[in-house]
């Protein structure tokens, strides 16, 4: 119906239509929305303010007293958690774990998704339905056999149990169903003619994949990279289980969880540590929010 009407809707009429959507802003509406913003923002603001307060101030009064003069903020808590509580090491570990785990998933998923979208083979639909089913399998179900497997397997004589390699591999396995699902749906929505004419011009599947499918799918790949990055960065369970108790390899999530459970009373340190773990996701979120939202609303939903 919009096809026929679209040319008529020009200028002022379009304005009027947009206005129609924004109907009835009134005081209760604004109050409700401001209340929501306050409820959502205050806990995080509290954390941020508390992380810059001195130990004496933290013991004496709540974080909200710090937003009025005299301002007595300090970086000492960050200095402590980064340099003495092992968070700098964990910060690096988080990158070391997250980046390869993201690269692996995206590439392996892209090959599989391309096969699912543009190649004919028996069991294609069945296998893809299996992928859709695996989307929601709780990873708790896989912990015991994978732990046993990692304990028994040697790689060139080296144990991989408790290493970062084990976490890379595990995250790749766990991230794949979502990645294959997202990319296959995007590849499948690309125009068939492009691939047909490339094939007529003599381009093989590899050329079509690297020169056509990948460049045309940058938005979907960007969404996937962000999702997988945040998912691995924020993950607690996989690292907790496969890295074991040795702190040397722990990422931020595990170190923070240990700090909170063992060190609960020292709010100035715990809050600074929590903020250290949040800073990268927040930067990623604000700089790439557009792709993040597009990935979510693309109908691709991870369980």
């Amino acid at each position: 119906m919009t096809q026929a009407q679209a040319p008529v809707l020009v200028g002022a009429q379009v304005q009027q239509k947009r206005g129609a959507r924004r109907r009835g802003p009134s005081a209760p509406l604004h109050i409700a929305l401001i209340a929501i913003m306050v409820i959502w923002a205050i806990p995080a603001i509290g954390l941020l303010v508390a992380s810059f307060r001195t130990a004496a101030a933290t013991n004496a009064s709540g974080w909200w007293t710090a937003i009025a003069p005299p301002y007595e903020f300090t970086f000492a808590n960050y200095d402590y958690v980064l340099n003495r509580a092992g968070f700098w090491n964990s910060f690096l570990n988080s990158f070391v774990i997250t980046i390869p785990a993201t690269v692996l998933v995206v590439m392996i998923a892209a090959f599989a998704a391309y096969a699912f979208a543009w190649m004919e083979f028996p069991l294609r639909n069945f296998l893809f339905v299996v992928v859709v089913g695996l989307l929601v399998v709780p990873l708790q179900v896989t912990l015991i056999p994978v732990l046993t497997l990692l304990r028994d397997v040697n790689l060139f004589g080296n144990k991989i149990n408790g290493t970062i390699l084990a976490v890379w591999l595990a995250h790749t396995g766990y991230g794949l169903p979502f990645a294959v699902y997202l990319l296959r749906n995007y590849f499948g929505s690309l125009p068939r003619e492009v691939f047909e004419s490339a094939s007529i011009d003599g381009a093989g599947p590899a050329t079509a994949f690297f020169r056509l499918a990948l460049p045309m799918s940058v938005p979907a790949i960007a969404s996937l990279v962000i999702f997988q990055f945040l998912w691995v960065w924020n993950d607690l369970l996989v690292s907790l289980v496969y890295l074991g108790p040795v702190p040397q390899n722990h990422p931020l999530s595990v170190t923070l969880a240990n700090l909170t459970t063992n060190f609960g009373g020292n709010w100035q340190f715990v809050t600074a540590a929590a903020f250290v773990s949040m800073i990268v996701p927040i930067i990623v979120f604000f700089s790439l929010q557009r792709y993040f939202v597009r990935g979510i609303t693309g109908g691709a939903v991870k369980g």
Binding site: W40, A115, L143, F285, G303
Partner: protein, 318 residues
């Protein structure tokens, strides 16, 4: 330092190896007769993914189901004893009850609030600001969210934001974390804070897809805003709401991080996933732990069936 070097090596080497793999595969397939090539090619493109899915998801799921019928050492078959244990303990049944609370209330609040916010922000100019603020918690970890909310719920009025407010009115501070069963709702609200943005973003996108002409027509016919919402917007959004709700149900069933960080299951806040972790690592009970994981899997199977069915319908429309 060598960790960083190996990570950089991996980031460079892995793409080279994988791209090389495809190029080698295509080079070899290119020499084969066309009919044979078409038959093998898809499987070689799928091979790395199938290997990972097989090793880390399919095989372990099946192995866990078998493991759950064996005893602690894994040597003796004991039938359903691990399940009998699970359904015969007050503490595990409590975990099950708490997961039901999580499923009902996390899903209810997240979908309800997400829909409410999506509808409300659609009518104001500062839509983007509200959305960003509500959406931000989605980016951080449940562990960090746990710290943020422990600071809110703390019993000391000089630390806990909520109790500072309560004591300011003259009342005595309320132990949010340790008062069963209400503490479960304190934890669930952390999940609500985290996930409402997700629901809001999807529902808001769905809402933008509802035709303005349709809404105007209803209003011209004399429908008030509530009727427009209930009779037009809600039915049109129903499939989107279903997608969001199933996703949140999965989150609720798998809940681990928030409970692990905030209470570790103390004060009657235990959930299945945390109990499973405890049986595995604290009690060394692999058989029982496997049985708990299978219970979790069984609880999720209905959602899996719904997802597969929905996927099939979408494919039929394609």
């Amino acid at each position: 330092m060598d960790r960083i070097i190996s990570a950089i090596a991996v980031v460079v080497a892995v793409p080279l190896v994988l791209v090389g793999y495809i190029l080698v595969v295509e080079f070899i397939i290119g020499r084969l007769p066309k009919r044979v090539a078409g038959g093998i090619r898809p499987w070689l493109w799928l091979a790395p993914a199938l290997l990972f899915l097989g090793v880390f998801l399919v095989y372990p799921t099946i192995a866990t189901i078998f493991r759950s019928f064996y005893n602690q050492s894994g040597k003796n078959l004991i039938g359903l004893d691990n399940y009998a244990w699970f359904f015969g303990q007050d503490s595990t049944l409590l975990a099950l009850r708490n997961n039901v609370l999580w499923v009902v209330f996390l899903t209810g609040f997240v979908v309800g609030l997400g829909l409410l916010i999506a509808v409300l922000v659609d009518r104001v100019k500062y839509e983007g600001v509200v959305k960003s603020i509500v959406f931000l918690p989605m980016a951080i970890s449940f562990v960090a969210a746990g710290v943020i909310w422990r600071l809110v719920y703390d019993i000391q009025p000089t630390v806990g934001t909520l109790n500072a407010g309560i004591t300011a009115t003259g009342a005595s501070p309320y132990p949010f974390i340790s008062t069963a069963p209400w503490n479960n709702f304190a934890l669930i609200f952390v999940g609500v804070w985290m996930l409402t943005g997700f629901a809001m973003v999807i529902l808001s996108a769905g809402l933008k897809g509802v035709s303005v002409e349709l809404l105007e027509a209803a209003r011209v016919d004399g429908a008030n805003e509530l009727q427009v919402f209930r009779r037009i917007v809600l039915p049109l959004l129903a499939p989107t709401i279903a997608v969001v709700a199933t996703t949140i149900v999965i989150y609720a069933l798998k809940t681990f991080d928030v409970v692990y960080v905030m209470t570790n299951g103390n004060f009657d806040t235990e959930v299945i996933a945390n109990r499973m972790y405890k049986e595995l690592f604290n009690n060394g009970q692999q058989g029982r732990s496997a049985a708990i994981a299978v219970v979790l899997l069984i609880a999720i199977i209905p959602v899996m069936v719904v997802n597969v069915r929905r996927f099939r319908q979408q494919e039929a429309v394609r």
